[in-house]
Structure formats: structure tokens, C-alpha cells
Amino acid sequence: MTTEPDSSADDAGPRGTASATDPTPAQLVTTSKAKIGAADLIFKNLTRTAGIGLLVLIAAIALFLVLRATDALSANTGNFFGTQEWFPNQTPPKFGVAATLFGTIVTAAIAMIIAVPVAVGIALFITVYAPRQLASVLGYVVDLLAAVPSVVYGLWGLIVLAPHMKGTQLWLNDVLGWIPLFSADAVGRSFLVAGVVLAIMILPIVAALSREVFLQVPNAHREAALALGATRWEMIRTAVLPYGRPGVISASMLGLGRAMGETIAVALVLPASFKISVHWLEPAGNTIAANVANGWGEANEIGRGALIASGLVLFIVTMVVNMIARAIVARRRDFSGSSA
């Protein structure tokens, strides 16, 4: 530090008394204004531009979607939120997002149910149980999963996974068939298969972020738990999980965003039928993103507007989900971050 002796003496007082409330970046700026003012100013403006630029970008995307969608929406003879059909290219056009929105939520939910527990398990194993060498290799392999292009997951889901999940799906139908969700006339490229493909795709994101969060747990917390006679599992339950919960939630929300927005993999796996199907083992269903991928090439002017309107719905749903996640994280922060 190169601050002048006078100012450091001045700072000592307030810092000592109000250390928790004031991290004093402002003070640093004022005390050394003469020396790093220019660089600081440039950096401040750069970051500010980046921040504002992001907001402008999001606003521009929303505006673009709204402008392109309005023509199609006004020509629509169906109910945009109630109609399950999707015929925007015929005259008169008739389309609605009911079926695709339903499919988007169902596949993403299945993916989350499968992926989050597994991802948290992987992260815990890597941070708590695994030997150092194995942990680094395993972490690397998990990250590598994220680098596989989604079209590869889609083709694998269509050609390999769907036929191989037939047995599993028939078994589920046999055992749990009395629940409507698992009853099926025929099994095939179902919501469940798409959900499994999506689960594998979001696994690396959730696992990698959870791992980083668990690594942040202060050693003092863990050692305190162990010193009180906790087993490893008890230590995880009392020290690691409560501390990491907000982070795991944000990681899951990132994963959920990807699952809802995934395009080509779902387009390849799901049979693109426009009906709300509560039989999740039957080959039926479609998602908003997959429908855009399928319909864009041959769509006419109205058809494209309709697809953009459905994109707008996805945009809003994703935003709402993110806001909910933020709210959850914010509510938990006081509790778990207090001792950080």
C-alpha cells in the first residue's frame, strides 16, 4: 500500500469502529484520487457501459420480439394461450402456445428432478469425499460434458437413448401405470426421454457451480462440526449444505434456463405433437424452442411472427423463473451468509 501516513492514520479510526458496515471502496478512491484517478475513472466507465449495455440489449430483444409478433398475433384466429394447434402458415392462421408451453415446463421439470440431486451428489463427492487426484479428474470430466454440442445429445437421444429406454418405460408403465402420468398405450420418444436428455445436458452446469459453492464453505465451519463429533454426513448436513443452499439454487436456475431454452436436442427427440399430454411415457409433446427450430425454415411472414411470439412467451417465463430464483436466494442470504 502506498497511501500517505496522514490518511492511513485518519482511516484507522472509522475502520476500527465500523468495519462490518463499510468496506470503504469510496474511501480508497478519495484518499488516493491524485494517483489512480484516471485509471479508476476509465474502469468505472467501462464497467458502467457494460452494465447499461446489457440492459439495453435485453430491452432491445424484448422490443424486437414484440414488434415482430404483433402482426401475427392480430391475424391469429385461435386463442394464443388456449389453442393447442399450431397452423400459423395457413389462411386463416390459427395457433396457440398452450401445448408447447406445457411441454417446455414438463421437460424442464423432469430434467431438474433428475439432474439436481445427481449434480449436488457429484459436487459433494468431489469436494468432501473424493481423494484430491480423483476429484480434479472428475471435475474436469464433468466440465467436459458441458462442451458436447447439443445436436450431439439430440442425435444420441433419438438414435440410442430412446430405443434403449423402452424397457425402462415399459417397466414404469407396469409398476406405476395406475398413476395417469405413467399410463401409456405405447412408449417411445416421450417427455421422459427428452427430460433425461436435458438432465444430462444441464448436469455439468449445476454440478460445476455447486462444486465451486461447496469449496467456499469456510474450513472453520467444517472443522467445528467435526470437532463436535459429527460424522461426515452430519457435517455436510449441518455445515456444507446450509451454507451452499443459495448457490445451489442459483446453479439450478441456470440449469433450468438452459433446459427450457434448449432447442435442437429436444427438436430431435420429441415427436412434435401439439397436444397437452399427461401421459409422459407416450411419444407426444413439443416445446417452444423445439417448435421454433422445426417451424422456422418453411414459415411465411405470419408463421415467423407466430414463432417469435412464442419466443416472447419463453423469454417472459424464463425471466419470471429467474426472478423467483433471485428472491429465494435473497431470502436465504441473511441466514447462511451471516458468518461469511
Binding site: 402458415n89 433419438l158 430431435l268 415427436p271 422445426n294 417451424g295
Partner: protein, 371 residues
Amino acid sequence: MLVKLGRRQAAVGAAMVALLTVAACGTDDNSDSGGSGTKPSGTASAIACAKGSITGSGSSAQKNAVDEWVKAYQSACSGATINYQSTGSSTGRQQFIGKQVSFAGSDSALKDQQKIDADARCAPGTAVDLPMAVGPVSLMYNISGVKDLQLSGPTLAKIFAGKITKWDDPAIKAENPSASLPSATIATVHRSDGSGTTDNFTKFLKAVGGADWTFDSGSDWKAPGGQGAKGSDGVTSTVKSTENSIGYAELSYAENAGLSTVKVKNAAGEYVAPSTDGASLGLSTAKIADGDDLKLTFDYTTATKGAYPVYLVTYEIACTKGLPADQAALVKSFLTYTASDAAQTAIGDLGYAPLPDAVATKVRAVIATLS
């Protein structure tokens, strides 16, 4: 620990980059030498070369044919660059109207407002539809133990409309007395993405299905039920992995996947297996529109012997006048080549049929007037 990991990843990354670079160089070299090595001297003499660069876009159904033609044309004519993007017929037509491309590939002819807009783009000339490639659409199925399935148009319409749901339905049995058909539910597979194959197949169903096919034809599949799959390859692999299924795709996909294809009954009362020659025969009695715009009206009731009734025709859309001179010369030269006998036979291996003589003659006559 973190630093260590970072370094290792960096090393791996660097190695991958190096590998990829080497691989890329390798393939480049190969394709270069392959291209010049296979230069066909026969076609080179048939092409009246033009120079310059043009872009076309549209139908993915003719992508393989156009790629083949572009390869042959460019290897014969140095100084000519032709880009064809398979963006889908509808996009191709829109880009043509918007002056973004010099020609468009489309699985259906310009109609109504499209024709007016396209004519405006070609002022002082007009826009013309030129039939350029014909292909049989095969109906492939996956029923264990059943070969040589024979179906008529109305039965196909009932199957795809969901009115016949079991393979041992009396209507199917009547056409296949010797086959041991299972009492299984029929899983129909159609395209989930907009497609000219769907357009042409539903035109056929609409023409022969009568009261059993009440849906509009078009590039989107309109009938309820059945499974969608993305792309002809998606349909093919879904049929292959789904027992008791039936789907439609260009013949080459069924052949590559080793799937059995349905013999379809034509108006002469014969059951005909899909073939490029059969499709040519089927199209030979199509009605060609008068004038320069060679829109085809298919004749599904043709009683021609050996005609296979399910086929798709894909057009090139071009301007008679109104393109910048350098583009016009190259478009004319390229289309003259694609309509030639050499070019039409060159795409036979790719599953396309040559244009019937009556159509080809008219197409060549119109191309000769382009300027």
C-alpha cells in the same frame, strides 16, 4: 490446486487446437486434390461457362442435387462461384423476392401474392418456375416378418389420417392376402419441420384420398396423431427404431437405412415399388402451365404402366429479365447446365429421377430466353 488445473486444461486445449488444425489442413488437401482429380471432361465440354458469383437459397429437398451440379459446374468453369443455401423453400422464395439471392429453390411453385411480388422483383421481366429435379417419395415401414407390403392411395390416406389403426385391418389384408400382418397399432411417422416432402406427399394423399383425407396439403403436417420427426433422416431413424411404424422420405433415405418400402398402387392398377424411373413415368403426364412459368399440375390418376405415383418435384425460381447482367449470365449458364441430360443423369445416384422429356424440353426452351 486451481492453478494446476488451469494449466492442465490449457495444455489439453492447446493440444486439441493443434490436432484440429492438423486435421483441417488434411481434409482441405484431400478435397482439393479430389475435386481436380475427378473433374469430368465430358461435362466440361457441355457447359457454356460464365464468370462471376451468384447465391441461391431454398429447398433442402434439392440440396444434394444442387451441390452435385455446383461441384461439376465449378470444376468445369473456373471463375464461377455458386452458393446454394438450403434454408427451406419458403425462406428461399422470400429471399428471392427480397433481392437477396439470384435464384431460389422451391418445392412448390409460386402462387397468388408470391407470384406478384416475385414478378415485381424481376421487373421488367417476370419470375418463372422451372421444374428441375424429380424424386420418388418412398413409404418405408418397419414390421418384423413383413416384406412386399402393398397399399393403395386411399388405404395410405386412411392410415395417415388415423382411420385405420391396426396392421391387420381388413382393408390392408385385402391388398396383402399372403402377408402375416400383426394385430399391432400402426405408428405413423411424419416430418415435424416444414418440408417440401410433406407438401408433395399430402398433395398425393389429398388427390387420391377423397373423403378419407380432409386435410389441406402444405409443408406443415396437418393431420392429428402420429409422431413427428425432424428431417428426412429423423423420420428414417424413428421408423427404424419403432416397431410397426410407417413413414415417408425420399427414396435414398430408405435405401441407406435398409428399410422396406411400400409398393403403391397406381391408377393402372399395378403395385409399383418406388424408383427414379417410376417417378419419371408418373410425372410424364403432368399438365404443364402455358407460357414461361412452368408450373406443373400433377396427374395422380395417370394410367401409365410402371408409374410410381408418389413423387416430389422441386423447382428453380429465376427471373426472365431484371437481374444485373453479370448475375443473369451466370444464372442462365448454370440453369442451362442443370437442365441438360448430363446434369439430369448425374443426380440419378442421389435418388433423383431425370425430368420427363416433355417437361425437360419446355424447361430448356424457357431457360434459353432468360437474359
